[in-house]
């Protein structure tokens, strides 16, 4: 699929996504406060923090859904701070949404196919119909994400967990270099969480897709990520290996308000 790089080390190589001094203000509220963030190629980084700590807003800034107030975003060596979202997606930065965004009236297959429609730009798109290559790719991903039975169902009839899988599939259709995954497990039952986890690891290992994931499920982050960034009140509170973060007093305090230990 993507340019598969098997090495998992990000040290030495150019980082894929770089956010520098990202600040986002809504009126008087500073939702994200001067956050630096880096994700290397093939890396899986977790982004955690209590409710309202600015995780999704940071995601919105990185994926260009929102303009940053101050700061810059670079992806794959290019400055994307002022680019339109579809350009960013075309560069290979996909994302999923906390509040799901599938096309409810279209079938699962159509949803998948629609995620690569930009490949025919301009007038060509008027003359291109859906081709068998796209369909095969979509079918393959639908199988991979265990949605085969639902291929021709309208996405609006899917359960929450199935929609999450569909969104991940849609993000994968365009063969991205990196996926911003916003709460892949919220509202998903535990058996499906395990399956999603397996699939994500496989995508990462096999295709070299990098991930930045917002997550409430600490165990999920611990299993997947080599590095975790913690936000609190919009500012970066800590960064490090998951086990270090679990021991970090500031983090524990931010989550629990006292110095109890994190129950896993």
């Amino acid at each position: 699929m993507t340019t598969a790089t098997t090495s998992k080390s990000s040290g030495g190589t150019q980082p894929l996504l770089v956010g520098r001094g990202i600040t986002k203000q809504f009126g008087g509220l500073v939702a994200v406060d001067n956050v630096d963030i880096e994700v290397g190629p093939c890396e899986m980084v977790g982004l955690i923090g209590p409710n309202g700590s600015g995780k999704t807003t940071l995601f919105d800034c990185l994926s260009r859904v929102r303009d940053v107030t101050v700061g810059s975003v670079e992806f794959d060596g290019q400055d994307i701070t002022g680019k339109r979202p579809h350009k960013v997606a075309q560069l290979g930065l996909s994302r999923t949404f906390q509040l799901l965004r599938v096309y409810p009236a279209l079938t699962v297959l159509e949803n998948m196919e629609l995620s690569v429609q930009w490949r025919d730009v301009g007038l060509a798109s008027l003359f291109r119909r859906s081709d068998s290559t796209t369909r095969d790719q979509a079918d393959h991903l639908i199988d991979f994400l265990m949605l085969t039975r639902l291929r021709d169902e309208e996405a609006g009839t899917l359960s929450g967990g199935q929609r999450r899988l569909l969104e991940i599939g849609m993000a994968l259709m365009s063969k991205p270099k990196m996926i911003l995954l916003d709460e892949a497990t919220s509202g998903v039952n535990p058996s499906l969480v395990e399956q999603i986890k397996e699939r994500l690891v496989e995508i990462n290992r096999r295709d070299g897709v990098a991930f930045l994931l917002v997550e409430h499920d600490i165990r999920f982050v611990k299993d997947l990520c080599e590095r975790v960034v913690v936000l609190n009140y919009g500012a970066k509170l800590a960064e490090g290996r998951p086990d270090e973060i679990m021991e970090n007093r500031d983090v524990i305090e931010a989550y629990f308000g006292d110095s109890g230990s994190v129950a896993t």
Partner: protein
């Protein structure tokens, strides 16, 4: 034809349509498509032969030409309103612009401003002007979403009518313009019939292309489409521009046949309302919906107008309420295999279950289809085993 006779005709037509729909809904999808194409072909042949018959009068042909105009405008409206989901309440503005630019160019001589243009070049320039204006105005108004866009377009429409009214040297102001008369009803009839058929085929083609799919994506979730690499601004403005161009074309054709235009007949709200209602009645975002719906509405109004002049607006209003309440997907939408069946129609409107309006599936269906219960059981098991792993 007396009032009772009209009512009988109306009831008969409504019953025939209802029966056809029920009949179509009961047969398998593939056969249904063949039957639909067959019916369409028969009607088309009938429309082609009609002017050749001896007792077809010119006024009947003119009425049919107006019907084709309504149908054409509805198809154009459906491209933005139905496929792309931008409900345009000022669509008639492109019609008026097409009519006025044609009128101005052709009547330059009578205004003493130069030499009047022939019809065909005037028409081409007029549609071009409508397209350029649609591109410029669309670029601004399509930043707005939902009702805000609708209201902005309504404003554009009203503003344009007043601009035309005050630009007297060019447009003749409130007095209007007289075009050189040219009476050839069959010619216009055939031209518009050809245009409508071409537009219908184009819509059908567009629906299957990638560009067409991106329009549906924009309707379903614009931000999602943008985030998945679709240049939403370009695509929606492109379809809006085409829609403006094509409606301008019908406007120009209408102006020449009418031989007289003034701001109040070139820019008239009813033209938009007809397109919206016709498309809704036929089925929003379907290929044949606008044709079936607006043709039905047109004929119905001819009938109501002729017999219940005082009541026709009331009847039309009740009809609109009826569509929204009982036929949210329109006549063609009912036939869509993915959305509904006769049985679900029954449970939808006469059953007591809770129904999702958008999908037409009942909550009970969803529960039966989903293996939620199986999931819940295995979920518990996994939770237990995960707990055990965590403790190690």
């Amino acid at each position: 034809m007396g009032i009772l006779g009209s009512i009988a005709v109306f009831v008969g037509v409504a019953a025939a349509i209802a029966l056809t729909l029920v009949g179509l809904a009961l047969i398998p999808q593939r056969v249904r498509r063949m039957v639909g194409i067959g019916l369409g072909a028969v009607i088309l042949v009938g429309l082609i032969v009609l002017p050749l018959l001896e007792h077809t009068t010119n006024s009947e042909l003119f009425t049919l030409t107006l019907l084709l105009t309504t149908v054409g405008v509805s198809i154009n409206w459906n491209l933005t309103g139905g496929f792309t989901g931008y409900v345009d309440f000022g669509h008639a503005v492109w019609f008026g612009i097409g009519a006025y630019v044609t009128g101005i160019l052709m009547s330059l001589q009578t205004n003493g401003l130069g030499i009047g243009w022939p019809f065909v070049p005037s028409l081409i320039v007029a549609s071009g002007v409508a397209a350029v204006m649609a591109a410029l105005i669309g670029r601004a108004t399509m930043r707005l979403k939902g009702p805000y866009f609708s209201i902005a377009m309504l404003g554009t429409f009203v503003a344009m009518r007043e601009i035309v009214r005050v630009s007297e040297p060019l447009t003749g102001g409130g007095v209007g313009l007289t075009l050189p008369p040219y009476q050839n009803r069959p010619l216009f009839y055939y031209v518009q019939l050809g245009l409508v058929v071409a537009l219908l085929l184009f819509t059908w083609w567009l629906r299957g292309t990638r560009f067409g799919s991106t329009l549906v994506a924009i309707r379903e979730d614009e931000l999602g489409a943008e985030m998945r690499g679709i240049n939403t601004t370009r695509n929606k403005v492109a379809v809006f521009t085409f829609s403006g161009f094509s409606t301008g074309l019908f406007g120009g054709l209408w102006a020449y046949q009418n031989t007289f235009i003034d701001p109040d007949i070139a820019f008239v709200e009813v033209r938009t309302i007809d397109a919206v209602m016709g498309t809704m009645l036929g089925g929003l975002g379907t290929v044949t919906g606008p044709v079936v719906g607006s043709a039905f509405l047109f004929l119905l109004r001819e009938l109501i107008w002729a017999n219940f002049l005082d009541w026709h607006l009331l009847i039309q209003g009740l009809l609109l309420i009826g569509i929204v309440l009982f036929l949210p997907k329109g006549m063609i939408g009912v036939l869509d295999p993915r959305t509904t069946s006769i049985s679900s129609l029954w449970s939808k409107y006469f059953g007591s279950e809770t129904v999702d309006v958008h999908t037409g599936t009942s909550v009970m269906d969803a529960l039966e289809d989903d293996d939620t219960t199986a999931m819940a059981v295995s979920a518990d098991e996994v939770a237990v085993s995960a707990e055990a792993e965590g403790g190690q």
